[in-house]
């Protein structure tokens, strides 16, 4: 038995394998209690293998050059949201101020909830990652990670840490919350790296 595809037209080439178009919806998936973070209390810290540990407040990040991502996002639970946008600052801008040491190869991004995720440094540099506080021109809502979340849109969305508090640069890979609970180390949607060993 097979399913009739919803529409007669070609499958949207922006959809990675196994994904479907969630249309106008933006599902919420959360593992923990949603924290209420007052922007005036929020800060973002880059530490570890950097020349200078740096911390930015809400006002600090707003003074940096704004950067907008326009494109698609892909959740491991198989929905994708096509043609969306997020506004904030490029992670390159923040990393440049901290100065990664040559020994740094990976990062752990973390939230004040205790949620963590690991990323190779090369996957968050060169215009691939942002720290964002706007979604489609409006303030990012709390269930979606507001006031500020990480955005790494070329990987499954669990890498885009909600309520992000900082990044630690390491000289080795350190699997995070989901990566130690059965999910893939990297999470590339185009090769369907959903679960451990994919």
């Amino acid at each position: 038995m097979s399913l009739f595809s919803r529409t007669a037209r070609e499958r949207d080439p922006r959809l990675p394998p196994g994904q479907y178009d969630a249309g106008d919806t933006f599902p919420v998936l959360t593992a923990e209690v949603v924290p209420r973070i007052d922007p005036s209390q929020w800060s973002f810290r880059i530490d570890g293998l950097v020349a200078t540990t740096r911390t930015w407040t809400w006002d600090d990040v707003h003074r940096l050059p704004a950067s907008v991502y326009e494109g698609d996002i892909h959740c491991v639970t198989t929905w994708s949201k096509l043609g969306t946008s997020f506004g904030g600052v490029s992670l390159d801008t923040l990393l440049a101020e901290a100065g990664p040491l040559p020994t740094a190869t990976h990062v752990v991004a973390w939230s004040s909830t205790g949620y963590t995720t690991n990323l190779p440094l090369e996957h968050v540099t060169g215009g691939k990652a942002w720290v964002v506080w706007e979604h489609e021109g409006k303030p990012l809502t709390t269930p979606h990670g507001g006031p500020v979340r990480l955005l790494v849109p070329h990987l499954y969305f669990w890498k885009s840490v909600k309520w992000v508090g900082g990044l630690r640069l390491l000289d080795h890979d350190e699997p995070g919350f989901w990566e130690t609970r059965g999910y893939h180390e990297l999470g590339d949607p185009w090769t369907e790296q959903r679960y451990d060993g994919d």
């Binding site: 399913l3 998936l29 752990v108 909830t113 963590t116 130690t180 609970r181 451990d196 060993g197």
Partner: protein, 281 residues
Amino acid sequence: MTEPTATGQTGQADLPPLPTLGGLPPLPTLGPVGRRPPPGGARREWVTATVEACTEETAHARTLRLRLPDGTPAHTPGQHYVVRVRRDDGSWAQRSYSVASAPALPPAPPTVDLTVERLDDGELSPYLHSLHVGDRVELRGPFGGWFVWRGERPVLLVGGGSGVVPLASVLRAWQQRGRPGGDGAMHLVVSVRSPADLFYAAELTGSPDVTVVHTRTAPDGAARPPGRLTVDDLRPYVPAAPDALTVYVCGSAAFAEGATGLVVGAGVPASAVRVEAFGPS
């Protein structure tokens, strides 16, 4: 009795905490330390299961009992499987479904019950409602290493609508093991619109381990008038020292957000609450 385990996803192996570099503060963590994946990973392959039984739970939900290949390890309560069906254009539709049943312990053949709510305009759920006994379906799993029960107690389970599915697996597993800890060691509070919307109604109604909260229509003679879940519905199941409690909340994103707020309001530390949200947001 040995713990039912899912190969490769169990074992709270005592791993060292994240390294601190040059005196940096440790990073925050959430929950017990997880399992470091084995080198090369432990991939779960797609398998073909056979529909062994279909049970209508409500007008919109049915349980499929799926017979898995011999030797398939039992799931850990709370875990889910991914089901896939090929579209006529060759692409795959895949969705996650939580296991409702307790782990099938050998010598029982490996089966899992999945309860699927039909969304009339959905892609996969109407298809799963069209299956008959003997039909085959492809699935992969079990997955999930956070919203799982590995013997924690005491436990409070809070489910809304179809969110009761993984919680039913937890409750059934605890009952299967002989209710360790006795009365009050585990309690399920399930919120439904009306009695007709309750999954596993024959089993859950009247159980000392279960409280059913009706939001729109209560059964005749019910002591509690219909209304949204409140902190008073949960408080009786939160011990005076809530630190040891583990709470599992599952439902729509809106339900999960509301219910976790109530749980924290009842004095439970946020770090003791595990959340799984699915269904409409």
